[in-house]
């Protein structure tokens, strides 16, 4: 405890000094800045009003802060003393952490002092400069913070904060007079030269590109600029009688060789083919996806057809029984006849429709199916009176081999 007291006393002693010095420095800077600003701001009355307004805001803020409890006193302190206190915090980090009680004490002392100052400014209005300077100080500090953050500090910041910070910029060298002199030294005498000598065209209006990363619009802007230049130049060159467009029969070496152009062509063809193949593949995939549905639909349709025919047959059956009084008109009759026929044929097909296959038929004929089998091959009256000879089996004549001479001729 004793140690801490000693240290705090020392710190206090030293801190005071440092603080005073810093404050003085800041005041100086602020005064300078103020002068500059006044010089820049020609409207004196307006400026004065602004300063007063600033001051008012300042005081109000201080009052509010002071009214708050002990904890916020710290904040008020931070506000009023601005950059000086910041510097302290940076310079002596353990000062805050080690003996915070002491710091609180000293803070209280300081706030008292500040209060006294405030009272002064309120009552007399003579210490305007002080308050003003304070305000200036704050502004200056804020400005400095905005501008002067070296690159090395940025890395420690979170990536989200980084975007807002303007990094340290190099010293600008832009010696306009030297640049102009250099330009004059090298520039061509454009006024004396014909356009066809240099063929350079500067657009009338700068090419506006809203977003450099937007490829399409950027390229479009480039294209438009060049196109305008081409039209302009074309007119000028025609005026000067310079050949512009290449006649169709003028062949010469090109920048891109035929081989290269062939490659490009092949690339285009390949691209087109790939596109086509992709479309085809997609179609196939879709078909596969819907194929099942198509099959189901077909089966349903078939079942429906069958049901309908059955219904038709049923109707006909009922009509056969003569119990249908609804069929009175001719049309219906006619229609019914047709239906009748259809139904008849249908029935026949139904009854004997299912022919056994060919093999079965043959086997039936050979070995017999139904009916008497005995004496089937024996002669009867009819066969005896049959005068036709035995049936001759016509064998397919084999193509005769041609003679030697003919064979030779063929080959």
């Amino acid at each position: 405890m004793a140690r801490s007291k000693l240290k705090s006393a020392l710190d206090q002693y030293r801190g005071r000094n440092i603080r005073l010095e810093k404050q003085r420095k800041k005041e100086k800077e602020a005064r300078k800045r103020k002068e500059q600003r006044q010089a820049a701001n020609q409207d004196g009355g307006n400026e004065g009003a602004q300063v007063e307004e600033q001051k008012k805001q300042e005081e109000e803020g201080e009052e509010v802060a002071v009214k708050a409890n002990g904890q916020t006193k710290n904040k008020a302190q931070a506000k009023t003393n601005g950059a000086a206190k910041d510097a302290e915090a940076v310079g002596e980090p353990d000062w805050e952490t080690d003996d915070s009680e002491e710091e609180l004490d000293s803070e209280e002392e300081r706030t008292k002092a500040n209060l006294a100052k405030l009272e002064d400014s309120d009552s007399e209005g003579s210490s305007e400069d002080d308050a003003d300077d304070d305000g200036e100080e704050q502004e200056g500090a804020a400005e400095e913070e905005e501008e002067d953050i070296p690159l090395s500090d940025i890395e420690s910041l979170a990536s989200a904060d980084k975007e807002d910070v303007v990094p340290h910029q190099r010293l600008t060298i832009n010696n306009t007079t030297a640049l102009t002199a250099a330009l004059n030294r090298i520039s061509l005498p454009y006024s004396k030269l014909a356009f066809s000598e240099h063929q350079s065209i500067t657009s009338d209006e700068p090419t506006e590109i809203a977003d450099v990363d937007d490829d399409l619009n950027r390229e479009l802007a480039f294209y438009k600029q060049s196109l305008a230049a081409v039209k302009d130049a074309r007119a000028k060159l025609k005026q000067e009688g310079v050949p512009f467009s290449r006649p169709a029969d003028y062949f010469a070496e090109m920048v891109k060789s035929d081989e290269h152009m062939g490659k490009i062509k092949q690339k285009l063809i390949d691209d087109a083919a790939a596109k086509k193949a992709a479309a085809e593949a997609r179609r196939q995939r879709d078909l596969k996806k819907f194929g099942k549905q198509v099959q189901v639909a077909k089966l349903q349709e078939r079942a429906k057809e069958k049901r309908e025919t059955l219904e038709k047959i049923n109707i006909l059956k009922r009509k056969r029984q003569g119990a249908d009084p609804t069929n009175a008109t001719e049309d219906d009759d006619l229609f019914d006849v047709e239906l009748d026929n259809a139904a008849k044929s249908d029935r026949r097909r139904d009854s004997s429709g299912k022919q056994p296959n060919f093999k079965r038929q043959k086997k039936d004929a050979k070995y017999g199916f139904g009916g008497k089998k005995r004496h089937a091959k024996s002669n009867d009256a009819f066969s005896t009176s049959d005068t036709r000879g035995p049936k001759r089996v016509k064998t397919k004549a084999k193509a005769q081999r041609p003679g030697k001479s003919r064979r030779a001729k063929k080959v």
Binding site: S159, L193, I201, V230, R234, Y250
Partner: protein
């Protein structure tokens, strides 16, 4: 062929010469330092192809004694030097100078796309003279005026160049956007207004939005990109050729090394933050008694086997 054309239409050229006394004579020395990548080399080759008044030279051995370039230029009768300096096998810087005493501009080149890899369908005569199209922003500032003049003399092909071909069939566009100079090369394709060819290429963005205005009721002018594409950031302008006082410095230019270092540091920062947070979290949990032993090592049990039977 060019010679034939010249002889055929010689009288008109002579007439031209008679009226204009002044000539625009330019010769450009193109070379690179050692350590260029294939892409840098292709860009150089593309530019060389587009500039018939240029002379390509072997790679320069040194990166520090650039004043040697002045002698080299004198040797080859060149009054322009376009020197590509590659660093670390990835960054490309272009020095544009007018020896013996013109200014020197140093630029950082990025977003390089060569003709080879771009697959644009545009094409032009090797050795035809380009139209140079500049953004109006070039006239706004002194250093940009200097740069524009350099571009005009370097990329503009003089009429009297040896390998020049007589027609104008491409345009070079220089645009300033975002503090950088964007370079594009287009072919000028003229078609009769009735026969408009459909754009059968991937470059629909280039051809589709072309406003079709009839030029004198004759032709539609359309542009088809040829390539290459690149973006240049001016860094420094020196008063004399590869030397002398610096008369302009771009304060917004951040070196690619710096950017890479920042990225690396940002990554490291992320790791540090994470580990710190983890440690903090552990301590906090320990203080709250959420960990089994308060985040501290378990105290030795005086009755444990290891103590008793040590």
């Amino acid at each position: 062929m060019a010679a034939v054309y010249k002889t055929l239409s010689g009288d008109s050229n002579k007439h031209e010469k008679g009226t204009e006394g002044r000539k625009n004579r330019q010769r450009v020395l193109i070379l690179s330092s050692r350590g260029v990548t294939y892409r840098h080399r292709h860009l150089l080759q593309d530019l060389y192809n587009l500039m018939p008044h240029s002379r390509k030279e072997a790679k320069l051995d040194t990166k520090t004694k650039l004043y040697q370039l002045n002698e080299l230029a004198e040797l080859y009768n060149c009054n322009n030097v376009l020197f590509f300096e590659a660093r670390k096998g990835k960054d490309l810087y272009a020095w544009m100078s007018k020896p013996p005493n013109g200014p020197t501009v140093k630029m950082y080149i990025q977003n390089i796309h060569t003709m080879e890899e771009l697959n644009f369908i545009g094409n032009c005569l090797k050795g035809s003279r380009p139209i140079l199209s500049f953004d109006a922003a070039f006239e706004k500032q002194a250093h940009l005026r200097v740069i524009k003049e350099l571009f005009t003399q370097m990329f503009g092909v003089p009429k009297t160049s040896r390998k020049v071909k007589p027609f104008v069939d491409h345009v070079m566009g220089f645009t300033i956007a975002d503090g950088k100079v964007w370079v594009r090369v287009y072919q000028i394709s003229e078609s009769e207004p009735g026969k408009k060819k459909p754009a059968a290429n991937g470059e629909a963005e280039e051809t589709a939005p072309a406003p079709k205005k009839k030029k004198g009721g004759e032709y539609d002018v359309e542009l088809v990109e040829i390539g290459p594409r690149f973006v240049m950031t001016p860094i420094v302008i020196q008063e004399s050729s590869f030397g002398g006082p610096i008369i302009y410095e771009n304060k917004q230019f951040v070196s690619p090394n710096q950017i890479r270092a920042d990225l690396r540091k940002a990554k490291a920062g992320r790791y540090n933050q994470r580990t710190e947070a983890q440690l903090e979290n552990k301590l906090k949990r320990g203080e709250l008694g959420l960990n089994t032993h308060g985040g501290r090592k378990k105290e030795k049990d005086p009755l444990s086997d290891s103590v008793l039977f040590a």
